[in-house]
């Protein structure tokens, strides 16, 4: 890269011009390409050529992964600080159970939303307290709270799914369409835009990235680091809680195991985002691309008749590859 002479008048013009060379383009769009390649492959691969590109499957693929995509956005916020929140899946599950339970007892949707998001706020707040005030490592803290949540869910449900009695309006919201677009997709777009706005367009977001890059320097430029980190966990909890409400809307009830099934793909996607679109930087669009990349892979493999355990291989490998790529990109920078 040439260095413009700071004294010459020319430099101003060149400063805003990015010269994307091939390797940088490949880095940025590799995963988008992989997503498209996977979709094309399963559309023409004989065992899945009929089922995969069908309208029904595409719709299931999209709507079926919206909740987990929002859970991944929740995991993304503390991850920008390089702190891990393993409890986002559990929080979404807890929220869905209590929301469904309340609604099936005849409760109002408004109060149910307060319950769902409020639970996320409480757990997120507890995580934040343990991590920033008590000083427990974030992995341990959120692993611990997620296990406790699993206990609460088990105690509450006895392992049985809650179904029936969910208000029709909510189910309609969860399964309906607006101008042909699933209503839930609009919810994901809104959640994605809100997170993107927070991370990229507010001083708070910049402070999160600064914290993630160098904690000590963040303290020394006057960032209130404990506040910033706490807020990231609280926001993650609230977003995961909101995802739990959407899960009830989509499924018309709540399954006690659903939270667990979110955890791995959500974290894998959040990690992979550092290898998508903005290499070396965890980001919203990358997270969503990664979620749908994993979903396409899993859906295609299932349709091709692969046994269900293959999905574990895919998600686990994606988690490791995501972290490895993130490390590789940040090291090279």
């Amino acid at each position: 890269m040439s260095i413009p002479d700071p004294k010459s008048g020319q430099s101003r013009a060149t400063i805003f011009i990015h010269r994307p060379d091939i390797s940088r383009l490949v880095e940025k769009y590799a995963f988008v390409g992989l997503l498209i390649a996977a979709a094309i492959f399963f559309s023409f691969f004989t065992p899945t050529a009929e089922t995969f590109p069908s309208q029904a499957n595409i719709r299931t693929l999209i709507t079926g992964n919206i909740v987990v995509a929002i859970v991944a956005l929740a995991a993304l916020i503390p991850l920008v600080c390089e702190e891990f929140d393993l409890s986002v899946g559990a929080i979404a599950g807890l929220s869905s159970i209590f929301v469904a339970d309340y609604l099936s007892g005849g409760g109002s949707i408004g109060v149910a939303c307060v319950i769902g998001i409020g639970l996320g706020l409480v757990i997120g707040g507890l995580n934040a307290f343990l991590i920033t005030v008590v000083g427990v490592n974030s992995v341990i803290t959120t692993l611990g709270t997620s296990i406790i949540i699993a206990g609460i869910i088990s105690q509450k449900t006895g392992g049985r799914a809650i179904s029936g009695g969910i208000p029709r309006e909510l189910i309609q919201f969860g399964t309906g369409t607006v101008y042909g677009l699933p209503t839930l997709a609009i919810a994901l777009i809104l959640a994605g835009m809100a997170t993107w706005y927070l991370l990229e367009h507010t001083p708070f977001g910049r402070q999160l990235y600064a914290y993630g890059s160098n904690r000590s320097a963040a303290v020394l430029v006057g960032i209130r680091t404990k506040f910033v980190l706490s807020t990231s966990f609280v926001l993650a909890g609230m977003l995961a809680g909101a995802a739990g409400i959407l899960q009830v809307a989509r499924a018309g009830g709540a399954d006690p195991r659903v939270g667990d099934s979110f955890t791995l793909p959500a974290l894998a996607a959040a990690f992979l985002s550092a290898a998508v679109l903005q290499p070396g930087r965890y980001n919203v669009a990358g997270t969503i691309v990664a979620i749908y990349f994993l979903a396409t892979l899993n859906s295609g493999l299932n349709l091709a008749g692969a046994p269900p355990y293959i999905n574990y291989y895919v998600n686990g490998a994606a988690l490791i590859v995501g972290v490895a790529l993130a490390v590789a990109f940040s090291r090279r920078k």
Binding site: M1, S2, I3, P4, P6, K7, S11, R12, T14, I15, F16, H18, Y197, H201, T202, P203, R206, Q207, Y209, A210, G212, S213, N214, S216, A217, A218, V219, L220, V221, G222, I223, R224, G280, R281, S330, K333
Partner: protein, 515 residues
């Protein structure tokens, strides 16, 4: 290993020379810089030989040549009766011949016992099945503690013993596989740098007794009083040359400093006297935790230096003024307004800026761009209430790149793509764009080349001329002399004096900081 050492002992016994180490004609150049120029050095058995010189004198290069980590361009080492070519020496060679190093940084494991710390230096003694033979390990540690006069229990954790004893454990650990005191060269690099005064005396006493038992010691230090307290000889390097080898018992401190600094020092450029305004910073018996109360007034338009050695409290004091440590007592006023610092964000709000000593660890956001690195100190007018105006921000950052003479591809370039000096200018721009009242600069030119160094001081001068003030900490006293209006001296956590006007000379600063 033991056998090799024994054989060497026989060899050396045959040589009727008391010198265990003799270096002849050592030269080493790094590019155009001649770090060592035909340096001679000779160390007698049972003596403590101080190695002195200012920054860049060549002390550490010489030590690295001794260690075999740095290959000399020419020269010869005679070590324990063997002649080695200084161009080819490897660390394993000199280690086998009894060269041992204890570095300035603490290299003990605080949460482990003395036994474990000793064993981690030389390998655990194991039994037949590979298990640690704790009984023999303990016996060996007990005898080492006894031999090196360390009054401690082998089971004590390192974190529970005093700093001087820690250093002695490090020395014992380094020397534990040497059979006789006369068979090794012990190199101590600034061993007292992190010790409180009372502990220094304990360590010096111990070193004296080791030397009396025949141990040869090379003692690298900045603290001249220690040279006079324990050294049998002192070799002074300056600009890579051997200036003199002196007997500390026959010379005065002034004499020694003169040798260290040379005559050229007094020629250091004095800054033009700057017009000063009203009092900007007023500290009245302001006491940062763990330091002494400090009273200090700094005027608008003034650059005040703090001269002190490592461990004098200079860095802690500066960080304390930035709210990094709480104040125990006293008051701080900025432009007449009383300031209470409960944290760093209070200091930033009060218009204080701080450039830390360790740029990579404490100042840079390595993953972020130049723009992000400089905007992070405050988004101010880029934040219009609901979003950051990125274009305004980038435009401002492009302007800063010009204004602060930063050589960069653009505001979006990664901070890590810049040289050290340009990174430091980004750190300065980060604060100076906020027009702070008070700049606190800790080693602002560390790891920065000469050209960028001048530019950095030019930027500081410009900010000060616009009505702020700066406090500069530097180990490089020449730098303080040429850029500060006055210099206060810090020692043992207290301001012990001040030099102003013509009195600001490297000799005076050295005298007071070391006294």
């Amino acid at each position: 290993m033991t056998q090799a050492i024994l054989r060497l002992t026989e060899n050396t016994a045959a040589v009727s020379d008391a010198a265990i180490l003799r270096a002849t004609g050592i030269s080493k150049a790094f590019g155009a810089t001649q770090a060592l120029d035909l340096v001679d050095f000779s160390l007698q058995r049972g003596s403590i030989h101080a190695l002195l010189g200012g920054n860049g004198a060549g002390k550490s290069t010489l030590i690295k040549v001794f260690a075999g980590v740095q290959h000399a361009d020419s020269g010869q080492l005679d070590l324990a009766g063997r002649t080695l070519d200084a161009r080819l020496v490897r660390p394993a060679n000199v280690h086998q011949l009894g060269m041992r190093f204890v570095h300035q940084q603490n290299a003990t494991f605080p949460s482990l016992s003395i036994i474990e710390n000793m064993a981690l230096g030389s390998g655990f003694i194991t039994g037949r099945t590979g298990q640690i033979d704790w009984k023999r390990q303990r016996a060996r540690t007990v005898s080492l503690l006894e031999h090196y006069g360390i009054a401690a229990n082998p089971d004590d954790r390192i974190s529970d013993i005093s700093p001087a004893k820690k250093k002695m454990v490090e020395i014992a650990r380094a020397l534990q596989d040497i059979d006789g005191a006369g068979d090794a060269v012990l190199v101590l690099d600034e061993p007292t740098a992190s010790l409180p005064t009372t502990e220094v005396d304990l360590l010096l006493d111990a070193l004296r007794s080791y030397a009396a038992a025949g141990q040869a010691i090379i003692y690298v230090t900045h603290r001249l009083e220690e040279v006079f307290a324990i050294a049998d000889a002192a070799t002074v390097l300056r600009n890579g040359r051997h200036v003199a080898t002196l007997d500390p018992r026959r010379i005065t401190p002034d004499h020694l400093i003169e040798h260290m600094m040379g005559k050229a020092v007094s020629l250091a450029r004095k800054p033009e006297p700057r017009p000063t305004g009203q009092t900007l910073l007023a500290l009245d018996r302001y006491q940062v935790k763990n330091l002494q109360p400090v009273s200090l007034h700094v005027m608008e338009g003034e650059v005040v230096g703090i001269a002190g050695l490592i461990g004098s409290g200079r860095t802690r004091f500066l960080k304390g003024l930035f709210g990094g440590f709480s104040a125990v007592s006293g008051t701080m006023h900025i432009r007449g307004q009383s300031i209470t610092l409960n944290g760093i964000s209070d200091a930033v709000r009060a218009g204080i800026a701080y450039v830390p000593e360790d740029r990579v660890a404490d100042a840079l956001f390595g993953k972020l761009s130049i723009a992000d690195n400089s905007a992070i100190s405050g988004f101010g007018r880029f934040w219009n209430g609901w979003r950051l105006r990125k274009f305004a921000e980038l435009a401002e950052m492009s302007r800063l790149i010009d204004e602060f003479l930063i050589k960069a591809a653009g505001p979006d370039a990664a901070i890590t793509s810049l040289s050290g000096g340009n990174q430091q200018k980004v750190v300065l721009a980060r604060w100076m764009r906020l027009k702070p009242s008070l700049l606190l600069l800790d080693e602002p030119t560390q790891g920065v080349d000469v050209g960028a160094r001048a530019e950095i001081y030019h930027l500081i001068d410009r900010a000060v001329a616009a009505g702020s003030a700066a406090i500069v900490v530097s180990s490089d006293f020449e730098e303080l002399v040429s850029h500060c209006d006055r210099v206060v001296i810090m020692r043992n956590g207290a301001l012990i004096g001040e030099v102003i006007g013509d009195q600001v000379t490297v000799e005076n600063l050295n005298m007071m900081a070391n006294a």
